[in-house]
């Protein structure tokens, strides 16, 4: 394994209600190396998704230190964070969150469009990804014309279309039945073997076995990290 790609030091997140503070994450110290496949696990309300969204820079109200390779995220403004996010991350959601008014092709195209990639180059990349995921025949369909598993497949394709180094996945198989879920996890494994760092939130022990490390969180604390 290589050097750390994500490092958290003493990261905390809380909500203030008058004089009291309600902590969602407490003194989080964690390191994820490049190429790892890490699962974040814990009971409901433990702070798993909060941690994942924090890593994905969807949440900016936290304290502590967060390093993405050598970039000190905690010192950056929103614009610079967004630039780094676009360069390094892809996100997969439990509810797929495909854009319903766009076709499969357009859903894959939109992240590239937001990265100001020219149309010709975008077309080439999207076609390549469609082919890679074997969904060329579905490129003109809308999300409501796809099954749950197909939608999540498209969502993963969308997450990797801009060639991110890191994929963050929030319960990626949570809304799928087991056979679909297995296909998705196999895909993640394959991506990880190709060099992509993957961090997933999961309740599912079997899904966690695809990874090489588990971070357990309970009541906002990391209780242990086990391989």
């Amino acid at each position: 394994m290589s050097s750390p790609i994500l490092t958290l030091r003493n990261v905390e997140k809380y909500f203030e209600h008058g004089p009291t503070k309600t902590f969602v994450l407490r003194r989080i110290n964690a390191e994820i190396k490049e190429g790892e496949f890490v699962s974040i696990m814990g009971p409901s309300g433990a702070g798993k998704s909060t941690l994942l969204h924090l890593l994905g820079m969807h949440d900016s109200s936290w304290t502590g230190e967060y390093y993405l390779i050598e970039h000190a995220i905690h010192k950056l403004n929103k614009k610079d964070r967004m630039e780094l996010y676009k360069k390094y991350f892809g996100f997969v959601f439990q509810s797929y969150h495909l854009l319903d008014s766009l076709t499969v092709y357009e859903n894959l195209d939109i992240p590239l469009s937001y990265r100001n990639i020219k149309k010709g180059e975008r077309d080439s990349i999207v076609c390549d990804v469609l082919d890679r995921f074997q969904i060329v025949g579905k490129k003109d369909l809308y999300p409501n014309q796809l099954s749950g598993g197909q939608q999540q497949l498209v969502a993963i394709a969308r997450a990797i279309v801009a060639s991110p180094k890191i994929i963050l996945a929030d319960e990626p198989t949570g809304n799928l039945h087991s056979s679909q879920g297995k296909e998705i996890m196999d895909l993640f494994k394959k991506l990880n073997e190709g060099g992509t760092t993957i961090v997933q939130v999961t309740h599912n022990e079997r899904n966690a076995e695809y990874g090489n490390r588990v971070i357990n969180i309970v009541d906002g604390w990391i209780t242990d990290t086990s391989s």
Binding site: S49, T50, H53, L54, G56, H58, D59, K79, M82, Y85, K86, F91, F93, Q94, S95, H97, L99, D100, S101, L102, I110, P111, S113, Y114, R115, K119, R158, A162, D170, E171, G174
Partner: protein, 794 residues
């Protein structure tokens, strides 16, 4: 460009997927943009377009005297200006011209204008067929027709040139026909030459126009005009102040400008209300799109990119609304033009939708998209990603406050419009209830303009009119019939001084109207005789001169003393036979419009004793009684028995002539009333939408309250109270705004202050009731929330 095309494509799909939202938004925008485009069409054509003449900025109106809102120049000054002015290359005097055309088919009344030969070069126009008259022509015997008259009365006869017609009995050769659309001034149909020839003892006033010489500015022309005017009246220290030059465009449209801008402001309010409505709809829809926007942000969309996409959707909505609005304008402009009372708006014939209106609609649509789209776009694009993307997030965005502000704004704007309409309606009702001094009911009028003939004596004219009256009096059902040379509300009035018997002119001599009337005139018009007697058949040309004065004359001249038997004269230098004995006093009568604050005093003479024949060529015959449906045709045929070749200028119920003077306030009342009705509808929909959304958002909370024991009436009351707070806030802001804004209506109101408390109060109550009524359905819906369903809602 590519990204923009992408955004447009997505915007079309997004709007297509929500047809109800799109339809309501398009309707609101179409109404707002359409109304604005329609009124702008009128403003553009009347106020902004230059006059349709070559170099119209060089054409001016020149005057040496002011009479209230009107300006004029007397004949002597005109002759001197023609000699002395270096600023103008062509000057022309204009006066009312021929009013009847005979000798070619049915005799008809016409709008004639008499103009000097400089008229055509001053305007820079030529005839499209034949030519116009010029110096050297036999000016007594030529005329030029308008294109409209040539087509309607002469069947567009190509051989019209050289034909002879009679205008006011004078044979005239047709020299030319003007181009289509030319009808200056005042919808003229025929132009005859005017020869300005000042005579001692008489003076005429004209409207004068001229074209500036090259290189001369209007300020320079004004300075020269004042200097010439002062030279012409060296003993009059204020002669220069009364003189001036104004661009012809300004003289035509200057008076109507404020009113048109009031209408434009009113429709601007409607557009703002429509924008607030659409913004509210977008905010409500934004709550449902929160997740989509968060996903786009998580995929790398910057806030600017998100805002751009959202504004693209708003722009598309606004442009489509604008296109529909233009359709409304295409349909509405002709309707609007038809509603405008005659003569109220100049250049009405030029009103039409052109490229400037299309550009206005386009730019307005874009501006509208910014107005209603920017707040929702900013609100939505700052959605918290983490909160929006989580599976189980239930938090509500902070858009509710913004929606409440928008609804309160709609209420405020609607209130201002409604108050404006209320003031105009109250003013109109007050005006309509003014007593004109006579009874116009069951009264019919027929007027004629006999051709001027110097050789006709007053006796001959009186005999003619008596013949007509005798025929009209004999009509079945007619109770009384009379005649007068200057009929009230007939757009013509002769005034002059009158003097009481004294060795020197008294300090308080009055300007009065001096109508000549037949004995039964007062009875036919329903004018009350207050003292003394009316004229009778004993008051002839040979009997002692008598007069009947109006009440204000009696009061001003003699105070409480009995005026019967007193002596008055209407002549500046009276001979003994010019003194008249007052035999009666009648009510004052409104002469020109119901809004006259000071009654125009009148000294009536029997028609048989009018010594100047000039005053007897224009005559109005009034009959009271008879069957209203058959009376007009009977009157026409009886008149024709006396004079088959004389055109009839006017035939109408007297009530119609009175109503015509209230046409302008009626028009403004209707327009503002219609605008405020639209505004009220939009505002009601706005408040309904906000309250319905608020109730839907509070379903869980309401369910919990009911489960904890709240009664339905408690729930109902809480929803109504929330709405009432919004409404009262809007009304308070609206009242403050109305106090400032309604001042612009000052000049349009009759006997009503712009801050009339009763109107403000009544309209506020009306709006509050309507707005609360709009809340009723959502409030009832809130009371029917089933706590079990609501608590399972999550």
């Amino acid at each position: 460009m590519n990204a923009l095309a992408q955004d447009v494509r997505f915007a079309i799909r997004t709007l297509w997927k929500t047809p109800a939202f799109t339809a309501i938004a398009l309707l609101a925008l179409a109404l707002g943009i359409g109304a604005n485009s329609a009124i702008f069409t009128v403003v553009n054509s009347v106020l902004l377009h230059p006059l349709p003449f070559p170099h119209p900025e060089q054409i001016c109106q020149i005057y040496t005297a002011r009479f209230g809102d009107s300006v004029a120049m007397d004949d002597r000054s005109f002759v001197e200006f023609e000699k002395q002015s270096a600023a103008f290359e062509n000057l022309s005097a204009i006066s009312g011209g021929a009013s009847s055309l005979t000798g070619f088919g049915e005799p008809i009344p016409v709008h004639g204008q008499a103009v000097t030969t400089g008229f055509w070069p001053a305007l820079g126009v030529n005839a499209s067929l034949g030519r116009t008259f010029r110096k050297g022509d036999d000016l007594e015997s030529v005329a030029v027709l308008s294109d409209k008259l040539w087509r309607t009365h002469f069947n567009a006869d190509q051989s019209i040139l050289g034909k002879i017609v009679k205008l006011d009995g004078t044979p005239r050769t047709i020299l030319g026909v003007m181009s289509a659309g030319f009808a200056f001034p005042a919808d003229a149909e025929v132009w005859t030459p005017l020869v300005v020839n000042p005579q001692p003892g008489a003076g005429w006033s004209y409207s004068v126009i001229g074209r500036l010489n090259a290189g001369v500015s209007i300020d320079q022309a004004r300075a020269e005009t004042k200097a010439i005017a002062q030279r012409l009246q060296p003993k009059e220290p204020h002669a220069a102040e009364s003189a001036g030059v104004v661009s012809l465009h300004e003289s035509l449209v200057g008076k109507i400008r404020p009113s048109l801008y009031v209408l434009l402001g009113a429709v601007g309010f409607i557009l703002l209300i429509a924008c607030a409505n659409v913004a509210n709809l977008l905010l409500a829809r934004g709550a449902a799109r929160r997740q989509e926007v968060a996903v786009r942000a998580s995929l790398g969309a910057s806030r600017a990119r998100l805002i751009r996409q959202l504004l693209t959707e708003s722009s598309l909505l606004a442009l489509c609304g604008g296109a529909l609005g233009l359709l409304i304008a295409f349909w509405g402009v002709p309707l609007l033009v038809n509603l405008v009372p005659d003569g109220m708006i100049p250049r009405l014939g030029e009103v039409g939708i052109d490229s400037q209106v299309l550009l206005f609609a386009f730019l307005l649509s874009l501006a509208t998209s910014l107005i209603f789209g920017i707040a929702p776009a900013l609100q939505l694009s700052k959605a918290r990603l983490a909160g929006s993307l989580k599976q189980d997030d239930r938090r509500i965005t902070g858009a509710q406050e913004l929606r409440s502000v928008l609804v309160a704004s709609e209420i405020a704007l609607s209130l201002v419009l409604l108050i404006g309409a209320g003031l105009m309606i109250k003013s109109f009702v007050r005006l309509r209830s003014v007593n004109p001094g006579f009874n116009p009911e069951s009264t019919f009028v027929l007027t004629v303009d006999l051709p001027f003939n110097e050789e006709q004596s007053a006796e001959q004219l009186v005999a003619y009119h008596k013949q007509v009256l005798d025929k009209l009096s004999a009509l079945p059902g007619v109770n009384s019939a009379g005649a007068i040379d200057w009929l009230p509300f007939d757009n013509a009035l002769a005034r002059g001084d009158f003097y009481t018997k004294a060795d020197s002119y008294p300090a308080a001599h009055l300007q009065v109207s001096k109508p000549g009337v037949t004995p039964d005139y007062f009875r036919a018009m329903g004018i009350r005789l207050l003292r003394g007697r009316s004229f009778d058949n004993g008051d002839t040309e040979g009997s002692p001169g008598v007069a009947i004065v109006s009440e204000s004359v009696a009061r001003r001249a003699w105070g409480d003393r009995n005026p019967i038997g007193k002596r008055v004269t209407l002549e500046d230098h009276p001979k003994p036979q010019d003194w008249l004995t007052v035999v009666g006093v009648v009510d004052d009568v409104k002469q020109q419009n119901l809004a006259e604050k000071t009654p125009v005093a009148a000294v009536y003479q029997p028609m048989t004793q009018v010594i100047r024949p000039f005053f007897l060529f224009h005559m109005a015959y009034i009959v009271r009684g008879g069957n209203p449906s058959s009376l007009p045709s009977l009157m026409r045929s009886r008149f024709r028995e006396v004079d088959p070749n004389q055109p009839i200028q006017l035939m109408a119920p007297m009530g119609e002539l009175v109503s015509a003077t209230t046409a302008q306030p009626r028009f403004y009342s209707r327009m503002l009333g219609a605008f405020s009705a639209i505004a009220l509808l939009l505002a009601s929909l706005g408040i309904y939408g906000v309250m319905a959304y608020s109730v839907a958002q509070r379903t869980r909370e309401i369910g919990i309250r009911v489960a904890l024991g709240a009664q339905r009436s408690d729930i109902f009351r809480s929803v109504m109270l929330k709405s009432a707070l919004l409404v009262f806030t809007g009304v308070a802001v609206g009242l403050a705004g109305a106090i400032g804004v309604t001042r612009v209506l000052q000049n349009l109101l009759f006997d009503v202050k712009p801050t009339d408390a009763a109107t403000f109060a009544a309209v506020s109550v009306l709006l509050i009731l309507v707005a609360l009524a709009a809340t009723y359905v959502p409030a009832r819906r809130a009371t029917s929330v089933d706590p079990m369903v609501a608590l399972r809602y999550e």
